[in-house]
């Protein structure tokens, strides 16, 4: 799997990079809690350092690394997991969607003898025509609800996991859910076509969330406001505020228009071998240590 991924990026002129796993501050997220260490914290994603590399002029980079997210443990979650991230300068999320399509096709050819991916016994063929649908369309057609009213009532994640993801299990090819409402933009750029949405997408295979990508927000002021908003929301949830990644905010104005994506490698292995539980794809679960 790792060799296949490296071949994919090598052939496309990407530079493989390594960045520190232990950092003073991750990008603050409302619902992602970093694992503290004696000093600083472990990365929840390598995004901060990789984006700083973009600011320094590296234009196509990828990394395969361990990430840690506190308290995330279930049939699709390990606290310590393997992430693949890649970034392209002078590109937007559309190029990333094309990368996803080509990457999954190559991985299935290299690692699964070109057999389709399997999730809960359903076959999902990356070689077929992918479904690319907007989040708003998915909510109205798969759950018969309006996405904005779901967000207003704090029900977005509940509808997503109870209605949308189960419906996506039935799709015979991978699905790209794109154009997230601005409230869920995270570090994504506002859509050029409709300012109510952000250029963010999620890749689903057989209902399993595999990757999250977006056109990067490159405005330091806007990014700082969003981080502060995240911290205000964390306080409301009774969670501690998180330190802002100041050097990143300081360098952000130098970032060219870029796009980046994070993909869960353990989950890609699950799909490749048809494992329904993430425990099946690691030699050691945290409970066995």
């Amino acid at each position: 799997m790792l060799q296949s991924i490296r071949r994919f990026f090598g052939e496309r002129g990407f530079l493989e990079v390594e960045t520190p796993a232990r950092i003073p501050a991750n990008a603050p997220e409302e619902y992602i809690d970093p694992l503290p260490t004696l000093h600083w914290q472990l990365q929840t994603s390598p995004e901060i350092c990789m984006k700083r590399l973009l600011c320094r002029g590296y234009d196509k980079i990828f990394q395969i690394c361990r990430c840690w997210r506190a308290d995330e443990r279930g049939s699709k979650h390990l606290i310590e997991f393997t992430m693949l991230e890649w970034y392209r300068s002078n590109a937007d999320y559309r190029q990333l969607i094309d990368d996803c399509i080509a990457l999954l096709r190559l991985v299935s050819e290299d690692c699964a003898q070109a057999q389709p991916f399997v999730r809960f016994g359903n076959k999902i063929d990356p070689n077929g025509i992918w479904h690319i649908i907007s989040v708003q369309e998915a909510f109205s057609s798969l759950a018969q609800v309006d996405v904005f009213s779901c967000i207003k009532n704090g029900l977005f994640d509940e509808i997503l996991t109870s209605k949308i993801e189960p419906a996506l299990e039935k799709f015979k090819t991978p699905v790209i859910l794109k154009d997230y409402p601005l409230q869920l933009a995270s570090l994504a750029r506002i859509s050029q076509d409709d300012p109510e949405f952000a250029e963010r997408f999620e890749l689903y295979v057989g209902g399993l969330e595999l990757a999250n990508g977006f056109s990067e927000l490159t405005d330091p002021q806007e990014q700082r406001l969003r981080f502060e908003e995240v911290n205000r929301n964390r306080l409301k949830l009774g969670k501690p505020k998180l330190l802002l990644p100041e050097p990143f905010l300081g360098e952000l104005s130098a970032m060219p228009p870029s796009a980046g994506i994070a993909l869960g490698v353990d989950r890609l292995v699950m799909l490749t071998i048809g494992a329904d539980d993430i425990d099946q794809v690691v030699a050691f679960t945290p409970e066995s240590l």
Binding site: G74, E158, L160, T161, L184, E209
Partner: protein
């Protein structure tokens, strides 16, 4: 108090005053979204099931369960009376809560009674229990109908299938977990 992160399969908790056992549990979380805990739970009194989704930060009261060794004394209408072997206290349980165990209860049978607070909510029988056959048709030697079992009624009124050679008045061993004939006791 239990936090939602403490829940796992088998956890017993109180919801709306009733004890529930978690029968399946999963942690789900969209990458950037909030953590949700999906539970299926079974009401330990009436057996009804519930699907619930919880968010982190929610708390539950654990259901304190206590299992006591008791002896079945007698039945009156729909009420079954048991006596605690240690304290000699008597508890009365309704037929619904006794469930299938009622098929195997004879006076003086030793059982374990599950208590929720002071309320008895279930009976655990020994895995095997001996009961006498009160009615069954005699076995006609040379019967070639090919049937390898026949119905028999035991002293509690329970009817089960037994091998053709079992006769009225014989003592048989029943597996209480599936209610099936296990063997016979000769003599």
């Amino acid at each position: 108090m239990l936090s939602v992160a403490d829940l796992k399969k088998g956890t017993k908790l109180i919801l709306d005053g009733d004890p529930y056992i978690v029968t399946s549990f999963d942690f789900v979380k969209p990458g950037k979204g909030q953590a949700l805990y999906k539970c299926k739970m079974k009401n330990m009194i009436n057996g009804s099931t519930l699907d619930r989704t919880y968010r982190s930060g929610e708390n539950f009261e654990p259901a304190g369960m206590d299992e006591r060794d008791m002896e079945f004394l007698y039945k009156e209408g729909d009420h079954y009376t048991f006596m605690d072997q240690q304290t000699f206290e008597q508890v009365v349980m309704e037929e619904d809560a006794v469930g299938d165990a009622k098929n195997f209860l004879l006076e003086n049978t030793k059982v374990a009674v599950m208590l929720f607070g002071t309320k008895p909510i279930g009976v655990t029988l020994p895995n095997f229990i001996n009961l006498r056959v009160t009615q069954t048709d005699p076995w006609v030697k040379g019967d070639t109908s090919g049937s390898d079992s026949k119905p028999a009624t035991v002293e509690t009124g329970y009817v089960l299938r037994v091998p053709p050679f079992i006769e009225e008045g014989e003592l048989i061993v029943i597996d209480t977990r599936n209610g099936e004939y296990s063997t016979r006791i000769k003599g």
